[in-house]
Symmetry: D2
Subunit: 360 residues, 4 copies
């Protein structure tokens, strides 16, 4: 019941703080016999890596992953896979200001109230640096479900949404915002540049689509596939909302509009729409799975904010340091990883209970 673990048959545990010697993940339950090496993981870490554009933190971390166990002669053995990433650029600085005052919008006060102490260096365990471990674990999960394709992209930054009529999958990797709409990407660039310059930050909405998931994965109630995805997405730093399929918009449709009609298809039913986002009653329908999450603007801003000190005095704080002006950008590969981890686990669970699992 480790609170730093996630998943059931495929279960990973992460450890490490922003400014400790290293961070890592232990992935347990991986099937044996899968080809796996650092080269399968590194590309995903590289997508999340900081310092790649002026729109993300300037911290320089190579994020080189090492596999310390669970792989023999290039194959998974079925035993725990220990993944470690060293922290290289923990820039030496003075944390006395952050240690003495709470940064509004951060976890500082809540941590202190819970634990009676906290590691103030770079946010400690609450730093988004932890998400590198998830991305590494997610790369392992993808190997378990090779027929599932998972792609996340941003659909909104600072209130500016993409134009879905210009949606182009190929565009996603061409700009630093994982934006599927080249025109909007250009707008975001200006927008973010201005926000950064004024010492502010912007929120974002990230969408993730998984195709190739057969009907039947998931479970009807407390571990509904959508409930697992909601848990997974909401566990990512700065996320404040999650939608499946049409999400909030579904609440504004009428029953006959929202029901995804079915026609005979070549291989199972052909659905005439996908308002449900690929999940009904907590179980996959075979349609693409669609998850969307909203991230707040980071509170690490140069604008001074009213706060209090640990001993209860009124104060002001400015968060200097190297921060992402829009944490949503680097959250896209993290959402992909979490979706991969949920789906691979769901496949194993389904195979366990029901004895077969289409696709993998």
């Amino acid at each position: 019941m480790s609170l730093n673990s996630f998943g059931h048959l495929l279960r990973f545990t992460t450890w490490g703080e922003s400014h400790g010697p290293a961070i890592g993940a232990v992935v347990d339950g991986c099937p044996p016999g899968l080809a796996l090496s650092e080269a399968d993981i590194q590309p995903f870490l590289d997508k999340r890596r900081p310092g790649q554009s002026k729109f993300t933190t300037q911290r320089q971390e190579p994020d080189q992953v090492r596999i310390l166990s669970g792989v023999y002669e290039g194959q998974t053995t079925g035993t725990p896979i220990s993944l470690m990433i060293e922290n290289v650029d923990q820039r030496s600085k003075d944390y006395s200001d952050v240690a003495a005052k709470y940064r509004p919008g951060h976890a500082d006060y809540a941590y202190d109230a819970k634990y009676g102490l906290r590691d103030p260096r770079g946010g400690g365990r609450s730093s988004a640096r932890e998400t590198a471990s998830r991305v590494a674990a997610g790369a392992v999960a993808r190997k378990i479900i090779p027929n599932v394709a998972i792609t996340a992209y941003l659909v909104e930054i600072g209130g500016v949404a993409i134009d879905r009529s210009r949606f182009d999958l190929a565009e996603i990797a061409r700009n630093p915002f994982w934006c599927p709409d080249a025109v909007t990407a250009a707008v975001w660039e200006e927008h973010l540049y201005a926000a950064r310059k004024s010492g502010s930050s912007l929120g974002a909405i990230v969408e993730c689509v998984a195709t190739g998931v057969p009907a039947g994965w998931g479970s009807p109630l407390y571990h509904k596939l959508d409930a697992q995805l909601a848990n997974a997405a909401m566990s990512i730093n700065a996320v404040k909302a999650v939608e499946i399929g049409d999400g909030f918009a579904a609440a504004r449709l009428r029953g006959e509009e929202n029901a995804d009609r079915m026609r005979p298809g070549e291989d199972g039913p052909a659905f005439l729409s996908n308002h449900a986002g690929g999940i009904a009653g907590g179980i996959s329908t075979g349609q693409p799975i669609v998850v969307r999450m909203a991230l707040k603007p980071t509170s690490s801003i140069l604008t001074p904010v009213e706060t209090i000190t640990r001993d209860g005095q009124a104060a002001e704080i400015v968060t200097k340091g190297r921060h992402d002006p829009c944490v949503g950008i680097r959250a896209a590969p993290v959402l992909e990883a979490m979706v991969a981890l949920v789906l691979a686990d769901a496949m194993l669970l389904h195979r366990g209970q029901c004895g077969s699992a289409a696709s993998p």
Copy 2:
């Protein structure tokens, strides 16, 4: 790892189908020495009970709960509390149509793809009837955190939102929609009446506020308090989206707008706003906890919808029977119950790890 269980130290398991002899919940981990009787549970079940207005299903269920274990001489003993509710009004009817065809928007096809069979009587396990068990379990959870007040209400039906300037807590119990705005309640009544008459259904948005939660409950990562609430809410039938605090709106704020500023207060910090919905870094801040969820319109409608049969032939289906034109209404007490269960569990977990727990 029962997939029909939820929670950690306070953990409940539900069982039962819509048209079986009974449904129930086993609540494990309840602290000993709490006063508990059926009279503590029944009022919450009565709020969720069907057949109370013309805006909910006409199925007549007394929903009388029995405590079968875990209570001795009016006090919890610390052993599992078994709660049972008999199904009384399983109206005898012909399910052959539902058994032979998939109802679009329902779990029918997904269940069949997963299990290779399903119980078609009233939706079987996928029926919202299961939520009665949650409400019963939630009433036990409330006893564990007596200083926490939890109230859910509807803020939108069929796209018609309340006017927050008319928000009146006392109004909630005065109308059949758990609506805190009397004017909007009247609009919803007409709206729902029309939808029902036309054989359609409407979606809804339900909000829940928990006050009295001290700072420090929750956990930083995969079991963040907000991630648990998202999991809990998304596990409720027909829910497609969950927000904490400002949710999606937070993604449209700037960093300095979204940060909840702190001032010295009488008893811990005084926050100048609550965009975060009472949770930072996955841990409660002492502010009210705010959760919002969107429910799709039910697909049980009289309008004929295209579908396929189990053997893959094109067909049409009309869902007769007794259905809620807006399932969001009866979901309000269910969300309250799930929030109570998450919070009581979080209190016990906090007490376990950190050795004390403010409030209870």
Copy 3:
């Protein structure tokens, strides 16, 4: 993490007290499509049922099980199976003596120290009556692994061991002691008669063998198949020791004696011995699985014993009522059930991770 639950993919939760209205189990994770009715469960309950001979308690319980959920048209649906057994013969009696004093050797004092209260009626939750729920759950588990045969029998009562040279499987069901050696059965009868008459009780050793388990079930470390069996056996009332294979005797062998030599067999290896009890490194080897457990003599005896009262005064206590002079007898079907539950879970886990599972 319910402490009243056991298992992983196949997970059951029991509830109920000796003198409450009923007891029961919820079995979650059962594969769909298995034929199941009360008639599949009742024979196992009948084996454990009290009042069948003068060597077990005279409490009269029909132990009729009802399936309340999870089965439709005679087949499991993959949803939770709720099993309930009513308590019929909770003989009205005065519990004030037991409530005021602690019975040495019972859980009375420990429960009180933990919970600050307890249900004194018939031992409440600590009564061996709870094991009826396990037997019912175990009958479901057997359906999941139909090729596995599980048989438990007594090998020792009150220090009198069977003679293994007279071991006869067919004899087990012919005497009230599940004794595979007719000669020893007769000795036990006299022995137990004398113990009962003198107001005393006897301990016992129960052995269980499972054949038909293929190689490969289990897991290498904290959930080793033998560790799960040890947990399962030690969770049965009055059990104080567990052995796998040769158990303690293995500690007195030399390395070359203990190693089970392998020769080419028709279908996998042929082992020349089974000191290991069918498990190596926590994983089944394909040989018969052998578990043995020791049960203490019940402390419910007519001989007066020194004790203290709840308020710390010196006292004496005599445990009247209807008790088993040797609780080991009725523990045999309970051990069978626990072994079935562990093995069925292990099969599902193996299938989940490794994608196939021989035998079932």
Copy 4:
């Protein structure tokens, strides 16, 4: 549900193989604010370290532990504690013989049957080297329950038992066998020397006593304190049996002999005996907790043994390399660690559910 994890509120996960680059443990759920450094852990690792006498393997491992996370300024933070131990002496050798044939008595065949492949280098994950990670985790657990003293020692090697009348706690650390009886220690020395010389190995029995555990820890059923201890002990390499208190001997006592009589004491009851080993109904009684386990003789012996090859041919195998002639010796610190982990977890669980926990 990671199968390489153990515990509930205090939960640790181990990873790593005998001949990989490192092994380690992630300990989650540790309370915040405990003083912890490598110096608190190293002494326990040093007790288990190989190569310290001629009676253990000659592999030279410094077993230097590093704390990679969860500690800030010398105090635990409440976040996961990652512990890593590098493998230094993975002597380069030819594993082709072990890779091609199964060693009888080892996990080789069972692993292969389960996973379809295995890491043959030094036993891979099934090597007792993994227990170093447990010992490191156990040292953290001890900090959580500082008032509990846990001591393990050997009571039998190769069938030669200690004389309890010569039991001397102080003697345990004075000989290489953790033997509390100096006379027997000398006998074991000769015995082991002879076994080693003849290319054989001996089994052992290890006992562990925990004092200072207050009444009330544990739980009545599937997670009985004794069931947890049995699971923990049986998960240690080569263990084939576990006893609590009198264990098998209890099965030969009469009810009135076995019941631990109670008298008024200064601080709770004074028990007149401890047949129960400090646990009744799965809950601690305040008496010393006594666990005993039997370890088989290792199968890594120089005597040739009949076996088969991976492709089913008859063969013989001799296990060369550096092995313990009696694996029970180094198991003593491992049992201490596992007992510490179970008890610390039980304390946290008790505090979570019941709101207080005597002793710590």
